[in-house]
Each structure stands twice: as C-alpha cells, then as structure tokens.
C-alpha cells in the first residue's frame, strides 16, 4: 500500500470557520488565522466551548520544501500552532498562525487562557517569537544568558564530534 497524504487535497473553495480559512487534518479542523485574526478567533472559540489551550508550539519552516496551505494563506517562516480542545462533544481544533520573520510578534493568549504562559515562554525561548504583553517574557528552558534560539533551523545542533578516549590514557 502506498500511504496517501491527507493534506494533499486542498478544497477548491476555501472553507471558513469563525471567519477564518480552514483546512482539514485527520480528525481535526485546522484554522489558519492571520496574526490580526488570531486573538478574536481564540475568543470566539472560547465562547464556542473550547475550554483549554492544550498545546502551543512554534515551527520554523525555513528549510521546509513547501507545505500545503489552503488558498489565501501566505506562508511565512514561523508558525505558531495552537491546539485547543472542547470537552462537550469532544473535539479538537488546531490554529496555525503564520508569523513573519521580519516581525515575529504575536499577541499573548494569557488573558484568555493563562495556561499558555509556560508554552509561550517556551516558544519564545526556542524560536524567538515574541508574545506581546506576556506577563513574564523570559527564557524558560535555556539559561537566561543563552544566545540564539535552539529550535530555529539555522541554529546548529551543536553536536561535538565523537572522540574515543584511549583506555590507558592518564588523566
């Protein structure tokens, strides 16, 4: 069998939800708000029964060969991916916000879902995406004086060449 890519078939006419372009992913609806639509969309979703932001992470598409996005969504280097969950009639939704490299700024969701505090700090730490009005915009995983954002594709893995030490070598 040859696996069929799910996201390959984009709908001819972009469907919308909460006024936002959507696409489909296995079992989940994917919303593609712009940075301006981001906060209002989440607000609308919160009112619609999405109780929690389960996950928020960043993706750096610098070296990606080309991703499939619905029409009307311009790809940018960074994406902030927000996973939300609704408990009544259990369902999930995912938001993919395109964030430009030139202005990596996104409003914080802290006032709607305070649980994103740590996740946004992680996204900042790892990708350098700034969350406006975040209560504690500091690094979370790396030491405070660390340079660079490790999960960016242009940040080296930092691997040290493996060297085999001689067994009898004096120390």
């Amino acid at each position: 069998m040859s696996p069929e890519p799910e996201t390959a078939a984009t709908p001819a006419e972009p469907a919308t939800l909460y006024g936002v372009v959507i696409s489909d992913s296995p079992g989940q609806v994917v919303l593609h708000p712009s940075v301006e639509q981001y906060l209002p969309t989440i607000e609308a979703m919160k009112a619609d029964g999405y109780v929690s932001v389960i996950d928020l992470c960043g993706v750096d598409y610098l070296t990606h060969g080309g991703r499939s996005l619905p029409e009307g969504v311009a790809p940018e280097r960074f994406e902030i991916v927000v996973n939300m969950i609704a408990h009544t009639a259990p369902r999930r939704a995912r938001l993919r916000v395109q964030v430009a490299e030139s202005d990596p700024t996104v409003p914080t969701l802290f006032d709607l879902f305070p649980g994103v505090e740590a996740m946004e700090r992680e996204a900042f730490d790892m990708f350098g995406v700034v969350f406006e009005n975040h209560p504690d915009p500091t690094r979370i995983l790396m030491p405070p004086d660390w340079d660079g954002h490790p999960l960016r594709k242009d940040f080296g893995v930092g691997s040290v060449p493996v060297q085999f030490k001689g067994a009898a070598a004096p120390r």
Partner: protein, 193 residues
Amino acid sequence: MGIIKDVKDNGMGGLEYNFLTAKIEDLVSWSRARSLWPATFGLACCAIEMMATGGSHYDLARFGMETFRASPRQADVMIVAGRVSQKMAPALRQIYDQMMEPKWVISMGVCASSGGMFNNYALVQGVDQIVPVDVYAPGCPPGPETLLHAIVTLHKQIETGELVKRREATGAGAGIVVEQRDGQSDTQIVLSR
C-alpha cells in the same frame, strides 16, 4: 633501625611504610569504603534506577549506603545519575565543591559519561568535563546491577587506596576544556579547573 635509616635517607617520606601509620591508613580506607554515603544527585532516568537500587530488590543498605544525604557536606560520593544540561552544569559543580574531601564521583549512565545519544547543544558531553569521575557506569539507564557493580568497584579502589594516590598526583579535575561549538555562545564554555 629500619625506620631510623629510612628517615635519615628520605626524611619524613621514609615514614610511609611505618607499621602504625600503615595500619591507620588501612583502617581509614576500610571505613571509607564501608561507609560511602551518596549525595542525592538524581537528574533523569538514571535517578529512578538509583532509587530502585536503594529499594528492596537490590538494597544499597547492605553496603551501608542507604543513607542518602541531602546535604552535600555529609556526602562522600556523588552519583551523577542522568544527563547534565548546560544549565545544570554550574549547579553540579557547585554541589561538588560543597562536598567535603575525600569525595568520589560515579558517573551513572551514558548521558552523564559521554552525553549519550543526545549529542546536541543542550547537554554537557560527559560530566568528566566538570568534575573528576572515578567510576563510569555504562547503560541507558544502567540497571541496578550495573550501578551496584560500579559501587563495588569504587569500594575496591578506595580500599586499595589507588584513588587517593592518583588524586594527589594529578589534582582535581579531568583537565578537559571544551571548545566553543557552533551555535553556542562564549558563556557556555564548560567549567574546568
């Protein structure tokens, strides 16, 4: 006669093989080997196995080692159990410095010994860049049996006095300096003495 001649020839060094001091030395190494209190330095997966080693099936207490000391001042051996991140490294060195001589280090697991499978920006590639390691326990994570073997090896080395002699000769620290790698800032050069 012999002693006097030794002292005449070698100064105080001639007392090295004196009967009395030799016996006290034996007694001290015996007690150090028999009462090796570990500092709690659990980091990652290995810490769980370290706990298991203290548990009922493997029982570190047989060696008088169930007294995990929370305070580094009272501990004799630091079992570095798990991966050491760049952020943790200064804290680890600090704990090591807080320990009182004589002190030993067991590097438990491949992450502590060499960085293991995580050859990347975040981890110190081998804890021997920060503190002098006496025994390496291989495995990911080493099973309790492996850790016990490492501990018994350390006991033997302490009892024969090999370690003490080597430490005096070379001083503390493995003497390895890590160069700056791509993606790391200058501040991340690992401590070394």
